[in-house]
Each structure stands twice: as C-alpha cells, then as structure tokens.
C-alpha cells in the first residue's frame, strides 16, 4: 500500500516518542528508551510461542531439579542422623500387620457385617426382625420414638385388646382423637409422659446382649 509523503511526515512526528517507528523498505529502528521499558519490551517478545514454550520448560525443569535436590538432602540427613530406616521393622512384624484385602473383612481382618444377617425376636410383638433394623422397629413397636406417632399406635394396640378395656377408656380415647387439647387427653398424655419418658430395655437375642434406650425428650 503506497502512502503519501504527507502521511509519512505526520507519522514520523508521532513516532518520535514511541519505542519503534518504521520507514518503508527499512528495518525497524529502536528509538532511545528507558531501562524499565527495555525489560518489558523483552518480556513482550515472549508472545513468540516457541520461545515461550522453551522458557516455561526450562523453568519447570529448574523446579523439578530443585525438588529432587531437596529430597536428596532430606534423605542424606536422615541417613546420617540415623532415622531413615526407622519405619522398617523386622520382616515378621511387617507380615503380622499387613493390610488385609479380602471380601467380607476390613483392613484389620475383622468381620464387619457379622450382625447384619442375625435376627432378633421383638419382645413386644414377638416378630423376628433383622438386627440392623431392630432399634427403629422397637421405636415404632413400643410407640415411644420421635417419629412413632404414639397416639395412633396406642389406638391400634387398644383396638386389639378391646375385650379388656372399660368403656370410660374408650371414651377417653375418643376425646384424644377429637381434640388434642382436651383435658382428658392432657391428663393421659401427662400420665404417660411421667411414666414412660425414657425407657431402657435389656434383653438377649441369639446369645447377644442388647440394650435399647428409647426416649422422647420433652
């Protein structure tokens, strides 16, 4: 592209204070600049990707060599101070405590799901329940856990034993159903609370001593 001589005069004046100005058909000439500008000018040459890559590789290899040397010094000091081989004991102990990697065993060689398949008989409803589900079942069965909706369960239980219950009890139960805030319900609730606020049961199941604590915190 040909530029007018006028244009060139203007650019030449503008270019006086910049680092580089070019004339047609001539190589770039570097004007006088300060030291700071030289440095950043050299770094800006890194835009050249091949040089950039070489530079980063060099820096990386410096860092890796540093890490290796650091390790060597650390090991050498440990050897001379006598603590390098401390974690190695005799072969026999090493074999005793080796990590166990078998199915059904944890790293110490203990059986960890031993109680998963055992079943317990619930003392309340006489059903056979799996051990891991036993505590929640007991909660619901006795009607004393946090999520066991006590009143409903009590109703079911008293419903099953209708022969033994008196009429007044039935009435009270109805009151309880209708209105939670009725005096009758309160009395019953209070009574129940004082009796069975916190209950613990101990029993054996398949030769295992089980202790269950169920409590409703007021």
């Amino acid at each position: 592209m040909r530029l007018s001589s006028n244009h060139w005069a203007q650019t030449r004046v503008k270019a006086k204070n910049t680092t580089v100005h070019t004339k047609p058909n001539k190589r770039p000439v570097q004007a006088r600049v300060t030291l700071g500008e030289t440095r950043s000018h050299m770094l800006s040459g890194l835009i050249n990707t091949r040089r950039l890559r070489r530079c980063t590789q060099d820096i990386l290899s410096d860092l890796v060599e540093d890490a290796c040397l650091g390790l060597c010094f650390e090991v050498h000091r440990a050897v001379k101070q006598g603590y390098f081989f401390l974690d190695d004991t005799d072969q026999e102990s090493m074999r005793d405590f080796e990590i166990v990697d078998q199915p059904g065993l944890d790293v110490f060689g203990q059986v960890y799901n031993q109680w998963k398949n055992k079943e317990c008989v619930c003392p309340n409803c006489s059903r056979s329940i799996a051990a891991s589900r036993f505590a929640p079942h007991l909660e619901k069965c006795l009607g004393m856990g946090r999520n066991s909706s006590r009143i409903a369960n009590r109703r079911i239980v008293t419903g099953n034993n209708t022969n033994n219950k008196s009429e007044s009890d039935q009435e009270d139960n109805d009151d309880v159903n209708d209105n939670d805030w009725s005096y009758g319900a309160e009395k019953k609730a209070k009574k129940r609370k004082s009796d069975k606020n916190f209950s613990c049961m101990t029993f054996t199941c398949n030769g295992v001593l089980l202790h269950c604590c169920i409590g409703a915190f007021p």
Binding site: S40, L43, S44, Q57, I59, L60, L69, L71, V75, F84
Partner: protein, 95 residues
C-alpha cells in the same frame, strides 16, 4: 543466544521478585507428595543406600542416582499443571 538467556534471566528475576517461584516450588512439592512420587523416590533411595552402605553414602551419590530417575518419574498431570501456571504467570506479567 544471548538475547534468549537475557530474557530468561529477566523472567527468573521477575518470578523470584513476585514470590511466584516459592509458590510454584511449594505447589510442586505438594503435588509430588500427593501422587506418590516422593514415596517412590524414597524406596529407590533405600536401594541405593543398601547398595553403597549406610555409613559411606554421600550426597553426591544420592544426587547422581536420584535426579535422572526423579526427573523421569514426574507424572504428566503434574507437569501439565505446573506448565499451565507458569504460562499464566508469564502471560499476566510479560506485557
């Protein structure tokens, strides 16, 4: 090329001045420990020491045996991450 070596010196100076070199060193050390490189190298050291004898091993022995293997055993993921960090630093502070 002396221009390139001058540039390298400038880059190194900038890295050190801004504390980035120390940070990179720490990062590399942490990554190497994490990926098991340090344990591998320690096991290799044990062999070298058993070979040379516990009393007579010198720093030079260790350096000569350990450094080439150490360089080769650095995992690619660690190398990539460090290169990325260095490049990012240069891109940020080179202009």
């Amino acid at each position: 090329m002396s221009k390139e070596s001058r540039m390298k010196a400038t880059v190194n100076q900038k890295l050190t001045e801004m504390g980035e070199r120390e940070r990179l060193k720490e990062l590399l050390r942490a990554k190497l420990t994490e990926c098991g490189w340090k344990d591998q190298m320690k096991a290799h050291c044990k062999e070298v020491i058993k070979e040379k004898g516990l009393e007579h091993v010198t720093v030079e022995d260790l350096v000569v045996e350990i450094t080439p293997k150490g360089r080769a055993l650095v995992p690619d993921s660690v190398k990539k991450e460090l290169l990325h960090r260095i490049r990012a630093f240069l891109a940020q502070h080179a202009t």
